[in-house]
């Protein structure tokens, strides 16, 4: 995939990192989306094309990607497509999804993502792990999507987070 992609079918971002012409994982993200019966919108394709640009060694160019769009604009469904593409691209890839609370994280994973996966052929190479604290989607190639959330008021007796009201809660 190159920078000649046309996203005009949707609503391209007003401000965005420009495509450079490097290869990207957009095609694989679109393959994952099609399997999950997700019709990616123009801005989602633009984000995927930019965020998954690869360097000459096949590694992701951007270590951190910030996307700011309104709610209900397809962030989590796009994330699912990107994560599936990343999970199957390389065996034993460890992916973490972060949410505000554990409940939010679980809802996204098990109420939104897993039904789409289970209804697709991916359901045969992926299984959910619902155990509290170890929530994850486990892929047959050893890759995993785990959860991380931010908890309020969780007690912590030592360490540099003492006195903070919010801390990160790991899962899986």
């Amino acid at each position: 995939m190159t920078g000649s992609l046309n996203f005009s079918a949707g609503c391209p971002a007003r401000w965005a990192t420009p495509l450079t012409g490097r290869p990207s994982l957009l095609e694989r993200v679109e393959v994952a989306a099609a399997e999950l019966r997700i019709d990616l919108m123009g801005h989602q394709r633009q984000i995927a094309a930019t965020a998954t640009e690869l360097d000459g060694s096949g590694n992701l160019v951007y270590q951190q990607v910030t996307v700011t769009i309104p709610r209900q604009q397809g962030k989590s469904t796009l994330m699912l497509c990107v994560m599936v593409a990343l999970a199957w691209r390389r065996p034993r890839t460890q992916i973490i999804y972060a949410a505000q609370t554990r409940l939010d994280a679980r809802r996204t994973m098990f109420d939104e993502w897993w039904p789409m996966i289970a209804a697709s052929r991916l359901g045969r190479v992926c299984k959910p792990r619902r155990a509290a604290g170890g929530e994850a989607l486990l892929f047959a190639n050893g890759s995993r999507i785990g959860l991380v959330w931010v908890e309020e008021g969780r007690p912590r007796s030592h360490g540099r987070y003492r006195g903070h009201r919010r801390m990160l809660g790991p899962a899986g």
Binding site: P91, R121, R124, V125
Partner: protein, 70 residues
């Protein structure tokens, strides 16, 4: 290119699913290192197909996964 040898058997019962998954991982590594090796690609596709479809049922999952893994 030959996939790395599996760990020595300890004499315990074989878990077919786990063994198949381990084989698929080794084949994926080997295929990535030598993408032009059609024999490896075929073995990988067959292994993934077996993993995906159990007794050979194949609704295109192996082909789909190969597109996903590039």
């Amino acid at each position: 290119m030959v996939p790395a040898a599996p760990p020595a058997a300890d004499g315990g019962p074989v878990d077919p699913q786990a063994s198949l998954e381990a084989l698929a991982r080794r084949l994926e590594d080997a295929h990535r290192a030598d993408p032009g090796n059609a024999l490896l690609a075929r073995e990988l596709r067959m292994t993934l197909g077996k993993l995906a479809g159990g007794d050979g049922a194949d609704d295109g999952l192996a082909e789909f996964l190969s597109r996903l893994s590039g």
